[in-house]
């Protein structure tokens, strides 16, 4: 026998309540952390996880991203400026700026000038860009942990 309109309504209510119970609770504390963690994670790679007491994850992310960025600089990779008028340079900038504090410090010290005559320097440029992009992924992950979407 097909459920009547009333029975169908109560079944759906029960399902909605069950789904709501499984959803993480959003409290002012975790919404604050959901802003602080990614911002801190962007500025200092891995710090978004460390501030939420995910020590090993934060440490591994920090080591991986910082090492990748430094290796890129040691290979004489280029760090892109804000606007050189070239579309590919602007995309490079978007990747680089993802490294947050590393990018700011490198630019302040006038590092990452690049050596275009060396093939290894081009790898270095890619290492720096990818370090920035990986840091953005790590910052988004810190945001998800703060919201309770991830353990």
């Amino acid at each position: 026998m097909a459920p009547s309109g009333k029975n169908l309504g109560t079944t759906m209510d029960r399902q909605n309540r069950a789904a709501a119970a499984q959803r993480p609770q959003v409290t002012p504390a975790n919404t604050t952390m959901a802003v602080i963690a990614p911002a801190l994670g962007w500025l200092i790679p891995g710090a978004g996880h460390l501030v939420q007491k995910r020590w090993w994850r934060g440490l591994l992310l920090m080591i991986s991203i910082v090492t990748m960025f430094v290796l890129g600089l040691l290979m004489q990779g280029k760090v892109y400026g804000f606007n050189t008028g070239d579309l590919l340079d602007m995309l490079g900038f978007v990747g680089d700026v993802g490294a947050g504090g590393l990018y700011i410090v490198t630019r302040a010290l006038d590092g990452g000038q690049g050596a275009i005559h060396r093939a290894v320097a081009d790898y270095g440029t890619k290492f720096i860009i990818v370090a920035g992009l990986l840091n953005i992924i790590a910052a988004v992950d810190a945001h998800h942990i703060a919201l309770g979407k991830k353990a």
Partner: protein
């Protein structure tokens, strides 16, 4: 100080660090993180070897 790396060693370093970040960020528990990290690493390195042989064949 200038670092001189071969293509392959640069690719191995890239694969290692990218796989660590992918493993940690894309999975929920430690066991799955390690498994996914190793999976990404094998795909990175496997891709490099396949692409290397493909370029060698194209050059002949």
């Amino acid at each position: 100080m200038v670092l001189e790396l071969s293509h392959f060693s640069a690719a191995l370093l890239f694969a290692t660090f990218a796989s660590i970040v992918f493993g940690i960020t894309q999975r929920d528990n430690a066991r799955d993180m390690v498994k996914y990290g190793l999976y990404c690493f094998s795909l990175f390195v496997g891709g490099v070897i396949v692409a290397g042989w493909a370029m060698w064949l194209l050059r002949r």
